[in-house]
């Protein structure tokens, strides 16, 4: 089945392509999209890919996300590519890359870290020690958090 038959092209917006198969829901979640914002969004999972065998795609209509917003995807889907669509055409194409510093969004893997104490206002902050394999160091407790641990956070968050 061709991709075009599954979900039609969008006119304006952002297409996140080449997401490792099975990770589209995590990508949507890491972008902070809950579904109640009124954004028109299509999720295509386990479709054919010449590069990856199988891949997921997320199409967001009507919103051009900035690379700062999108680079966070690299934490869980490093192969993802971004297409900014204007008038049905690809206006810009980019690869996501892990930022050097991350604030908020993900949690420190150490339950005894100050950033995991619900009532305190310590926001999780990380320095990227290594991009591949992904290793984040917590600014507060200096414990490492890996890609596997980040993916787990988003899965458990969704109650799957």
């Amino acid at each position: 089945m061709g991709e075009g038959l599954l979900v039609r092209k969008i006119r304006f917006g952002t297409v996140i392509d080449h997401i490792p198969a099975g990770n589209a829901l995590n990508v949507v979640r890491i972008l902070g999209i809950n579904g109640d914002e009124g954004i028109r969004l299509a999720i295509i999972m386990n479709t054919e890919s010449s590069k990856l065998g199988r891949k997921d795609i997320v199409k967001i209509e009507g919103r051009e996300l900035t690379m700062d917003e999108l680079n966070i995807i690299a934490l869980i889907a490093p192969t993802a590519t971004i297409n900014i669509i204007r008038d049905y055409e690809v206006y810009r194409k980019e690869k996501v890359s892990v930022p050097d510093y991350i604030e908020g969004i993900i949690r420190c893997s150490n339950p005894s870290c100050i950033s995991n104490q619900g009532r305190e206002t310590a926001k999780p902050k990380f320095r990227v020690v290594s991009k591949e394999p992904l290793t984040l160091e917590c600014i507060y407790c200096e414990r490492y958090t890996s890609r596997e641990e980040i993916v787990k956070q988003f899965i458990s968050h969704m109650g799957v």
């Binding site: 150490n110 870290c113 100050i114 104490q117 305190e120 200096e142 414990r143 490492y144």
Partner: protein, 307 residues
């Protein structure tokens, strides 16, 4: 780096030159450890010990009193508003208004750094969970400097629970700032240093060896830093007994060691150093505990008055 108003969160916030400055001031303070000197009159130090302490709390208190200053102290949270559910953040905001500097011990890792972000007053970490205990490392290193005249270039062994021990982690980093000839990390496999520590030693280009074998290594050492092996870390009690036995420092283990070997311990000790060692020339751990006063006096003076 300037000392006035500076936070003390990790020993790695300091350079070896910074630490030498503290040690030089500490040796000036030695003259006043029993008589006092009126440098910090009308200054108030808040001692917030969310986790109980004896040595660290009383030595900070003593140091502040000897400098002519005053302390606000709590140890344990039973009779404070924290027992009513007050957050750490709010407690710090309040104490920041009362005191000139804040010393904090907390079981949560990163608590001191968080407190330092909130408080305008300088914050001194007196232990955050199994993370850091920088002022302990300062007095440990001062003990070596005082006895040997140098810290760099020595063969230093660190023994015990290197995974969860905050004193051992801070000592490992502190000793590394002075470039030891070799750093021996001696522990049972289940209590080896965390990957985070290993990576930092790599970044600092430290020549370090991880081993389980104390008996052979001890003969090489100039300094042996002993820490407690904590029973609760072992799922299997028989394994704990075996490990504990192999790491006990007694007279027979000390046969053939260097004449000027220094044995340090942050205390409290349980049975990792036999009392028969106390009388030997190698035992420096009680002097180390006494050195807490001049070192903490020096640190308070530098932070509150400047260089």
């Amino acid at each position: 780096m300037m000392f006035k108003g500076r936070d003390v969160i990790s020993i790695l916030d300091f350079t070896s030159e910074d630490l030498m400055k503290i040690f030089r001031v500490a040796s000036e303070m030695e003259a006043y450890v029993k008589t006092g000197v009126d440098l910090l009159r009308d200054r108030i130090l808040a001692l917030l010990f969310f986790e109980p302490s004896t040595r660290t709390m009383f030595s900070f208190q003593t140091a502040m009193y000897r400098l002519g200053g005053k302390c606000l102290v709590f140890s344990g949270v039973e009779r404070t508003s924290i027992a009513k559910g007050e957050t750490l953040g709010d407690t710090i905001r309040m104490m920041d208004g009362y005191a000139n500097a804040i010393v904090i011990r907390h079981k949560i890792e990163g608590a001191a750094k968080y407190a330092a972000e909130i408080a305008e007053a300088p914050v001194i970490n007196a232990g955050d969970g199994s993370h850091h205990h920088p002022t302990q490392a300062m007095l440990d290193l001062y003990t070596i400097w005082k006895a040997r005249g140098r810290i760099g270039g020595l063969k230093i062994g660190v023994l015990g629970d290197l995974k969860y021990g905050r004193a051992s982690t801070s000592f490992i980093f502190g000793a590394s700032l002075f470039k030891p000839e070799t750093l021996y990390l001696i522990s049972p496999p289940e209590l080896q240093v965390k990957p985070e520590v290993r990576d930092k030693l790599g970044e600092m280009n430290i020549n370090y060896v991880e081993t389980t074998d104390l008996t052979n290594v001890i003969k090489e050492l100039d300094v042996l830093y002993v820490t407690r092996i904590q029973k609760e870390r072992f799922p299997d009690l028989a394994e704990y007994e075996r490990v504990k036995g192999s790491y006990q420092i007694n007279r027979s283990l000390l046969t053939g060691v260097k004449d000027d070997l220094m044995i340090l311990h942050p205390l409290p000790r349980v049975d990792e150093i036999s009392p028969e060692v106390d009388e030997t020339r190698y035992a420096y751990y009680f002097e180390e505990a006494r050195n807490a006063i001049p070192v903490r006096m020096a640190l308070l003076k530098l932070i509150l008055l400047g260089d």
